[in-house]
Symmetry: C2
Subunit: 374 residues, 2 copies
Amino acid sequence: MVNARVYAAMARPLVGHLDPYFLEILEQVQQDLRTVFGTANPVTLPISGTGSAGMETCFANLVEDGDEVVVVAAGVFGTRMCEVATRLGARVEKVDVEWGRIVEPADVEAAIGRCRKPRIVAVVHAETSTGAWQPLRELSRIAHEADALFLVDCVTSLGGCHVGIDELAIDAAYSGTQKCLSCPPGLSPVTMSARALEVVRNRKTKPRSWYFDLGLIGAYFGSQRLYHHTAPISMVYALAEALTVVLEEGLEHRYRRHERNHHALLAGLAALGVQAAAQEGHRLWMLNSVHVPEGIDEAALRRRLLLDHGIEIGAGLGPMAGKVWRIGLMGESSRPANVRRVLLALESELRREGRRPPAGEAIAAADRVYAERD
Amino acid sequence: MVNARVYAAMARPLVGHLDPYFLEILEQVQQDLRTVFGTANPVTLPISGTGSAGMETCFANLVEDGDEVVVVAAGVFGTRMCEVATRLGARVEKVDVEWGRIVEPADVEAAIGRCRKPRIVAVVHAETSTGAWQPLRELSRIAHEADALFLVDCVTSLGGCHVGIDELAIDAAYSGTQKCLSCPPGLSPVTMSARALEVVRNRKTKPRSWYFDLGLIGAYFGSQRLYHHTAPISMVYALAEALTVVLEEGLEHRYRRHERNHHALLAGLAALGVQAAAQEGHRLWMLNSVHVPEGIDEAALRRRLLLDHGIEIGAGLGPMAGKVWRIGLMGESSRPANVRRVLLALESELRREGRRPPAGEAIAAADRVYAERD
């Protein structure tokens, strides 16, 4: 769900990408992104593409042929990092993690041990494909002990929970607009530390990608305002308004809201006999992966939820395909009314499949969580 | 200028990128893009980035390390092609052309002669930086005689003049949404012929870019609907409506409108003592580059046009910096009211600079063109 104010902002009349009015908005977007990322990094800006464009931007600028990169692959997006980095010439040292679980820091240390001198240790903060989040503080320490840059995918976490780029000494991070920032998809916020920028500056070769070259993009965002490519004006209008909405709510309030709705949803689902799939203690607030109850045609039920109830939930991916559902509660969508709506819809569909959950118990269980956490 | 219907479409509520409703819209966008491009190519789709993303998509998919590419560099965007292709591993054979003039076919033949076996001959159809367009038919013949693919940048031409992908045997082309399609920037329509796709299929290495990998993107647009990256839903809504507006007007009518307003503008400017800068007989209809009159502070005058008259015109770029203005008349903006508005504004600003153009003569000259071409 997207706030009506964001839709209205997006439909405002276009101006040129060098128009003083637009440049003011761009400045404000950068400032607000710094606040949400928790960073003072001057290079904090929206890349003109969706979340994966941010991933490609980070690797294209930081990696040169033959560089070693340690990637924690605990889901679709960690696996994608390996593919993106390899194509850009990196030698990837992959740390395989069972989907839905968190990485063992010792496994990352072992992977670093197999490298001569890794340039990057990369991890996905909140894996949308599995519903688990990875412990950043420990990984940051390990990366920096190896004198590597620490790169984090914050696509699903940014705006829904604390990210803390500076506090956790994250050197490079990217996100997307369409998750917990509740803005339409189309931009990818990226931030880079001074340390990461030094690596970019000291490259021996130009980045393989011209479109995602941060040196060139930075010259447009910087005081020179050098033309690189035409910024997607309407999307920037939308992001500016979405960030205003986020900061008006207040970051802490927003994070608590995500946490509370997550617990209410899981309590309600448990009453329906539907159990969380990700590792306990490490479950995302914004993306709830749950086991499909035995004997249910999960695709058919998902389709009925969409067509008969107007609720879209995600399918399982990779090794979790057919086994889990992924229920998003992100940004504007993370609200008690939606928790109740999905619980009622699931209860009715499970009854249709011959299950007999105790009537009204799901909503009651969710309400108990809301009462406790008031 | 963007049609109000396009803004309204862009602000419609989001659905998921695999929602059947969205997939229908995507299908319609592909169909309408084929009509505007003049092609039956199945792979005709909007890339999730602005125009330069389309350029990078074409080169990233068609070029492998060491491939030879002949590029006609007659302005900013031809020069950018050289840079993009080089970074992706191509050996570029550049054909330098004086900015504002058209290429000599013999020079392209000579460049091909310096290659072992060029994979691509690439050219910008309508150079926004200079206001001249290049002769495609002759270049297509030369490219195919050398058994190379013919790649064309249609960023500024698509929707404003005939492009004719199939008729001219163009193998790969890209465009942008924000020029003559009159849609906000954010997507890059791309089309590839069967011949180009065969080159993609026979690659020995994967494209350097994962985000722009047409094999993966095509699997989402194709019947499999495989997830690659989240499509920028709102931008696709906008493009769908913009294409509907274009096709409701009718392509031929739209092209004649661009041609007519161009001639009216040039006639009016001549009455103000402002002369066209691009080679005669090869001047773009949608982007009019004109010589800055002797002794005028061009940047100051441009700024007054923007701030006092609400009219943005472009500065000269590269060797034309400080010497020309670039006046766009693209899509929705190409209309007699805008021609008159810019003539009146320029007349008033030139008077302020002490020039004495005959009063009312600019509008009268434009009106004579309209009367002749009615």
